[in-house]
Symmetry: C2
């Protein structure tokens, strides 16, 4: 069994965020589909159905979309009645980095919900952290960087 | 006074997410700087300093970066000691759509923190919502889409 990844957005966010993911991880997932909706000839619905219907039923599918209220997420959402896949929306880079590196056997609803909650916390207003660091005169926060 | 927007990432996420923002809003902010770090000749530090130092002191600056622990966010973070600007990280589309449409006079720390909290909630595992909708036989959730 394999995991298939679909990254989908209005416009070019999908290919942009994947480019950054690829730059940081140097990983190229085998089963990757990028949909930059409304930039190509086919309608998003056609692109999405072609993607989902072409994936073997025994494989897992993880879909990332740009924004919950958007048409792309809606198109996937309505297909949850027909196909078996995981759908996360509001994607940011943390979400991709965490979810796309989970092994197939560990990818389940509980794990995804946990990563979603972590990715939420990664949206941060850094001025608050900066001010707190100044108050505490604590340089340790400034050193909490990895990449 | 004006607001200047800087969208910065490793690789092409910055231009990708702005493309999607522009597609959805049909808005082109006057004072916009996009940094796709490590894809261009100049180092990110040079690009960032050129950006920040070129903006009039009386104007507001709102910076979006890709990921908290990343080098791009770190470069901006260390410059909070030198320049006066707002820095948000972990950007997703909701964050851009909300923050980039706030009027200059309403853009302040309290408002930004509020939008950050809203954008966090927009990262969502849609399967949970779908199952809840099925249980409740409540179609109203499916109609909560805008774009």
């Amino acid at each position: 069994m394999a995991v298939h990844y679909i990254i989908a957005s209005h416009g070019n966010m999908a290919k942009g965020i994947y480019h950054t993911y690829n730059y940081i991880t140097q990983c190229e997932p085998e089963n990757l589909y990028i949909i930059n909706a409304y930039t190509e000839n086919d309608s998003p619905a056609i692109q999405i159905d072609r993607c989902l219907s072409g994936i073997p039923e025994e494989d897992k599918i993880l879909v990332f979309t740009d924004i919950r209220q958007g048409s792309i997420n809606q198109l996937f959402y309505t297909r949850l009645a027909q196909y078996d896949f995981f759908l996360v929306t509001g994607m940011n880079l943390s979400l991709l980095l965490e979810l796309m590196t989970i092994k197939e056997e560990e990818l389940n609803e509980r794990k995804i919900q946990q990563v979603v909650e972590e990715a939420r916390r990664e949206i941060e207003f850094m001025n608050i952290r900066f001010k707190a660091g100044q108050l505490e005169n604590d340089d340790s926060q400034e050193n909490d960087f990895m990449m």
